[in-house]
Symmetry: C2
Subunit: 148 residues, 2 copies
């Protein structure tokens, strides 16, 4: 169940990676539907398992849309997002600006900005002691062991 020592490049894996690069922050289900157009026998379970492996390997990142649904991102560099509260869509945002950030986002992306959120992700003192050897990944994160 832990990440495999060696990751094989299978057809479904490749297809998922491809769609991930093509679509903009797709959900697991969006990837599933797209991948199935070429490989009709792929299952949703496989998509989820692959997304987990890919994230653990540091090849992709997980993020959360405004509703809490997971979305996946092929971009690995640090960058910001705008999340639509109505449809769940997530766009990348340029943070190079001389004007107030909110204002320039409204101009550049047409979003009506209602707020923002800056979160740091890490491990709290109580969970930290046993530095479990992970290190990559950011954002939303790793699969839930069990939801508590």
């Amino acid at each position: 169940m832990a990440e495999p020592a060696q990751m094989r490049m299978t057809p479904s894996r490749r297809a998922i990676l491809t769609e991930l690069a093509r679509a903009c922050h797709p959900t697991a289900d969006e990837i599933y539907r797209r991948v199935r157009r070429r490989l009709p026998r792929v299952s949703l379970g496989t998509v989820y398992r692959n997304l987990e492996v890919l994230q653990t390997s540091g090849l992709i990142r997980t993020l959360l849309d405004a509703r809490g649904q997971r979305r996946y991102d092929a971009r690995l560099d640090d960058h910001c997002h705008v999340r639509c509260e109505e449809c769940g869509r997530v766009d990348d945002v340029r943070v190079l600006s001389e004007r107030p950030l909110e204002e320039s986002i409204e101009d550049d992306h047409g979003y009506e900005i209602r707020g923002h959120q800056l979160s740091f992700v890490g491990v709290c003192p109580e969970c930290a002691p046993d530095a479990k050897g992970r290190d990559s990944s950011i954002d939303a994160g790793r699969p839930r062991p069990q939801r508590r």
Copy 2:
């Protein structure tokens, strides 16, 4: 189903608000368990419905922990969070510092910081046209109509 014209202050509502102020970013289920200690007949559905009403009324905010689970926040002013990837806990963070942010968070809160995320929340151009008359609320957000 839209927000009621008038919000009544019922015992469960009051209890939820109390626990919300007492606990630190509780999940719906945590609130539920706490409220039940005093009002054993309260149902989870009621908790969710109340949290929604309270958020819509601008009395509380919704946020997402590192796993995507919703948590609720009684603080209404803008502030930052640290989210533990292991246990899901969310703490408030002070952003007044002369040192690099990450570093000062590690010192002040004992977290091992693995990354951060800055997201803007709003309404995308495609959903915007019909400004649906909402305006309060920020962060994670409003109830999902249907998840798509």
